[in-house]
Symmetry: C2
Subunit: 249 residues, 2 copies
């Protein structure tokens, strides 16, 4: 069994831990947390250590807030190990030079309350050394069927795209939810539509899948919708995306 | 077998026709099209007629562009029948008074190139007369397991919500696609994320499901993303939805 250290206890750390625990050739050696005073419910007590007490492992996964990655990697109390971060936006080279560098970015939206099929999660890998890339590929291919080599530059653009298709999309769901709630309609009535909209682009390009008043140029409906919306920022979003549908892509 | 007339040959007409053809107690009597010179490939030749030649049926479904509904309903060559439209935004009372009025609104995104599980499509019903509402319920419950009574006022708000969660969401997918294409990344890598984002709100509220730099208040990442985006309208959408996540819902 190869050993893995995880540093962090957020959503990504949680799902990585779960996936690695289910693997056959890897085991979690330790999870480094900020304080042992505040136990983290999903981490077994005997796995938890402070960062300064972490012992070397085959791979160390840093899964903390982007802005803390550099400092955390500097505080790792060992050298010449393979240390990777899991961030979509952070360049590989912010990692401290005392260890070998890489990136292990799972391109998925993770919440602790929702299990995911980890074997479907795209894992975007990068490493400074070819041997280390192979190490990461071995781990990644045991956890997922979707493994990609992605440069720091590509990863940056992927992360922006991910914000649009996931974080922003979820916010549009939240707006739909608000509109339903304000009009005494169950949000459940929109769920088949949400599902089908996501499902459609499995076989159609988003361009071919586009429907609705904006792409039809149905100005009467657009005007009625804009008039209906009283929340000024929702109205602004309506106008802007309508304009974008009509002019872009 | 009860008879159904459909007026129109667009995406909604296509999927309604397919669903009704599969039903056991209803059959398509005729489909009224604009011109018999231009055959519509999904309509059997012997079903197609011109509007002026349409004969009365148990239910007549008008599935044309919103702005044409009033005029089309006026040209129907019979009276005292149940005539309903399938529009999300149009009030029931735009239908001509010479027939009994109702609405049969399938809340789904329809494209001819993509089959849907019609039994999951929410059907939103309204009728001026209780007997007619029952007629519509009988048809609806044979086509779908999701049948709702929705007033014209509620339907209007539902349609606005649907534009956000479906048309606008699809446009965010299109933006993701553009960003990938511009950076030599396959759009396929985003598909598990799109799927999971839609799947998540089956068990979490959109508010609880929200992740990403905006909700985390990760200004460094937000700044980097805004700088990355060169398309001015994509940049504007990024700013506006980020602001909306941080201030609303």
């Amino acid at each position: 069994m190869k050993t893995i250290n995880i540093i962090g206890s957020g959503n990504v750390a949680y799902h990585l831990l779960r996936a690695i625990e289910k693997s056959t050739n890897y085991k979690i050696q330790n999870v480094a947390v900020r304080s042992l005073e505040k136990p983290v419910d999903f981490i077994a007590a005997d796995l938890m250590v402070l960062l300064e007490d972490l012992k070397p492992a085959a791979i160390t996964l840093i899964s903390v807030t982007d802005s803390a990655i550099a400092a955390v990697s500097e505080k790792i109390p060992y050298t010449d190990s393979l240390v990777v971060h899991t961030s979509g936006t952070t360049a590989m080279d912010v990692l401290n030079d005392k260890n070998r560098k890489g990136v292990f970015y799972p391109l998925q939206t993770f919440s602790k309350q929702k299990e995911v099929l980890f074997e479907e999660v795209p894992l975007c890998l990068e490493a400074a050394e070819p041997n280390d890339l192979n190490e990461l590929k071995l781990l990644a291919s045991e956890l997922s069927n979707n493994v990609f080599e992605i440069t720091s530059e590509q990863r940056k653009s992927l992360h922006v795209a991910a914000v649009f298709v996931s974080n922003f999309t979820n916010h549009l769901y939240a707006i739909g939810n608000e509109i339903c709630a304000a009009n005494n309609i169950s949000f459940a009535i929109l769920k088949p539509l949400i599902k089908e909209t996501a499902d459609k682009i499995r076989c159609l390009s988003p361009k071919d899948a586009q429907t609705g008043p904006a792409i039809r140029g149905d100005q009467k409906t657009i005007d009625a919708h804009e008039q209906f919306l009283t929340n000024p920022i929702f109205k602004e979003i309506y106008k802007l995306i309508t304009q974008s549908i009509q002019t872009n892509v």
